[in-house]
Point group: C2
Chain length 433, copies 2
């Protein structure tokens, strides 16, 4: 493995305070030096960090990467039409190879915008794995259980896929790719299956991922069906007995906050998707007050329509001020924490998400030599409120440079685009445009 030293760089320290004129050394997969004076060790590559800022790379903890195939395909529709007339028919046509190529294109986009890891919920896990092996990013991937009626989990295709993946040595040995168990949502499963999935997650030491209280109607209908909120329902069935990431949580109420805090559930806040699908406004302030770990997700490109977590970062820091009427809430450091460390922790990657010696070198470098990043009264504020995803010039994952000034070192982005466009067109034309 190579080694690289940035000198004279600004960086976000482990408290997300920005320090200037620092040295940042990377050896192999790890950050081996952070300091104000030059390290004694030698590095193969030395880069001048003047005009650059390093932050921990982003973790996008709720997304559906292959949905870049559907970018812009389902617009200005009510949720039921969005799903039933556009998304589901399109997805029914998606092959494993489609997923492989679209995942590579989506991961190029993640890298372009400074993100190295995703908590992914889609299907055909071996193709997600194949793409992730090649791209060099990290992924916690799940094939969400969906079933209607009184199905048993072992009869589901998802179950069979999990059993295959759990027996696959390459997947088992990968540290970058982790299998998560996932239940799509309360309204798309039944209690027997949720309990069985929770038991599997415990047995195989998998994290759990699920959609929860995304829409008001889903939340209320759960109460009607089960006499309890989705949070209480999932807790009762054991879904929170393993580390769990609950996406959306727009309509939490009452005890829900206490349940998630007590069970250590991470909330994946997807503000743009919630706006675009008209789901509502998640009460992030109450989550943070309750001590819940809150990270950020873009959701899929069909409901966003990009994978640029800088946009969620800015909304996290601004919208929660308006929702509470309190402009003192959410500091730039808190927002950066949510986009990085909170996400790494949710994925079970406790040695990731901070620029700190001994941590995995997941680093995003921004070029701040821009008219809109001047002057610098408060660098952290500039990064959260003023910076653009396009200001990222280098994205490093486990010490390996995956994106550097327009070049992708592991992804053939032209091929990924061509393949994705061709395949998206094939499906769209088959369905009548």
């Amino acid at each position: 493995m190579g080694s690289i030293l940035y000198k004279n760089i600004s960086l976000a320290d482990e408290n997300f305070e920005i320090k200037n004129n620092m040295y940042l050394g990377i050896k192999g997969e790890v950050i081996d030096y952070v300091g104000e004076i030059a390290p004694c060790e030698e590095y193969e590559v030395v880069r001048d960090g003047k005009g650059l800022v390093a932050i921990p790379a982003f973790y996008n903890i709720h997304t559906h990467l292959p949905m870049v195939l559907l970018r812009g395909y389902a617009e200005n529709l009510a949720l039921s039409d969005w799903l039933n007339t556009r998304v589901f028919p399109f997805e029914a046509q998606i092959t494993g190879e489609d997923i492989y190529h679209a995942t590579l294109l989506a991961q190029a986009e993640l890298l372009r915008f400074g993100c190295v890891s995703s908590t992914e919920m889609y299907f055909k896990l071996p193709y997600l794995f194949k793409a992730n092996e090649e791209s060099g990013l990290k992924m916690n991937a799940s094939n969400a259980i969906v079933c209607f009626g009184n199905t048993d989990i072992t009869s589901l295709g998802e179950y069979k896929e999990y059993m295959e993946c759990l027996g696959n040595e390459s997947i088992k040995n990968s540290k970058r790719f982790m299998l998560d168990m996932a239940v799509h949502a309360e309204y798309t499963t039944n209690p027997t299956v949720v309990k069985a999935a929770a038991d599997m997650a415990k047995q195989y030491k998998m994290n759990m991922h699920l959609h929860m209280s995304e829409t008001k109607s889903e939340h209320e209908e759960c109460k009607g069906r089960h006499g309890m909120t989705p949070a209480a329902y999932f807790e009762k069935l054991g879904a929170f007995d393993v580390p769990c990431t609950a996406a959306h949580c727009v309509h939490l109420e009452g005890e829900d906050f206490e349940i998630l805090a007590r069970k250590g559930v991470t909330v994946a806040n997807n503000p743009i998707s919630n706006l675009k699908l008209a789901s509502g406004f998640a009460d992030v302030a109450s989550m943070l007050k309750a001590g819940i770990n809150v990270g950020l997700g873009t959701d899929g490109a069909a409901s966003n329509n990009n994978l640029n977590l800088f946009e969620e970062l800015k909304l996290f820091a601004t919208m929660n001020k308006a929702l509470t009427g309190d402009p003192t809430l959410i500091t730039p450091a808190q927002a950066l924490y949510a986009a990085t460390r909170a996400g790494a922790l949710s994925q079970g990657r406790s040695d990731c998400g901070l620029i700190k010696e001994g941590f995995k070198a997941d680093i995003t470098v921004l070029d701040i030599d821009k008219p809109y990043l001047s002057p610098v009264h408060n660098m952290a504020a500039n990064l959260v409120y003023s910076a653009q995803g396009c200001d990222v010039i280098t994205t490093i994952c486990d010490g390996k440079i995956l994106y550097d000034r327009g070049e992708y070192t592991t992804i053939d982005v032209e091929k990924a685009r061509f393949e994705t466009e061709t395949r998206a067109k094939r499906i769209s034309e088959k369905l009548g445009g």
Copy 2:
């Protein structure tokens, strides 16, 4: 004047539908050809538009450009602290030369993100004029009347400045720079002064610009003081008898919508500033339903903290879905209209804001050869939801290329940055950091 022809370009037509493989010809200040077949005329420069999309350039209809001096200077503060402990003391130190240099930096940022015109409210108008003359952008500029107690308008410094500017031949003859009358807000003026300002606007045929119903407390206190809402108050005093742009309008109620529609008042929607200062969520859906012209503004960099109208564009198209619970609201075309044509109309520039033969050539060209703009099921949706301000490669104002692939043709951006940073530091240090 030069002439330029883009061939094989995609462009937003006058209905904001995206047409592919088009010719777009510019001669002098004007769009002289839009069509599918090659024009007969010759052009000095011919550019290949493959992989590019042209849209009308953006109009930022509520901002305070020189506040880039304060970018990141006042963070996580309640509005009164934000104003009284940070913004007002800082602004008290700002000189005319500071304003000149900071305006140039801010206009470089506008150009970078595809915007050619601003509805500007600040002070020391001759320095705004000087910057705008050099930069080549458009500006509707005002020095907002602020007074406390029973002051007469003629005793105010703003009045004197207006009279000087109204007598200045260079200013009078400029078409790009237009003097607007402005009243800062109801709570920072008195009825006598508002009426006098409205009379002056009528007399000199100036547009009006004001802050209105930005915060709940301001809106309610107006009702307490005057027994009517700010909209009714301003109507009564004649402020809406000339074309008026009312910024924010977050807390409109009841008859307010009808008043603004009837009087042809434009609302400048500033969603990010409203979020960051915790002012709330403007009811844009009701404004549009009432027939009100709604354009977009960034507000100043101290409450945003950039001047990238692509961010407002996306929020306009998404947040209003969540606020109404209706994801079918606000099409990409409606959002693009708000960022362009609605703004041009509000500034009294009726021959701007559309890509149409005979209109002023205010054009923004985007490079769409990006992983996050692929595939293209719906180009307009990609532009509104997926594109980045940084995708702008060329910004043209009145037929003149002002920004082109990193180069500013009229602004010395390095100098503007250096001067702005030096001056911001001078003030910050004087005030103790």
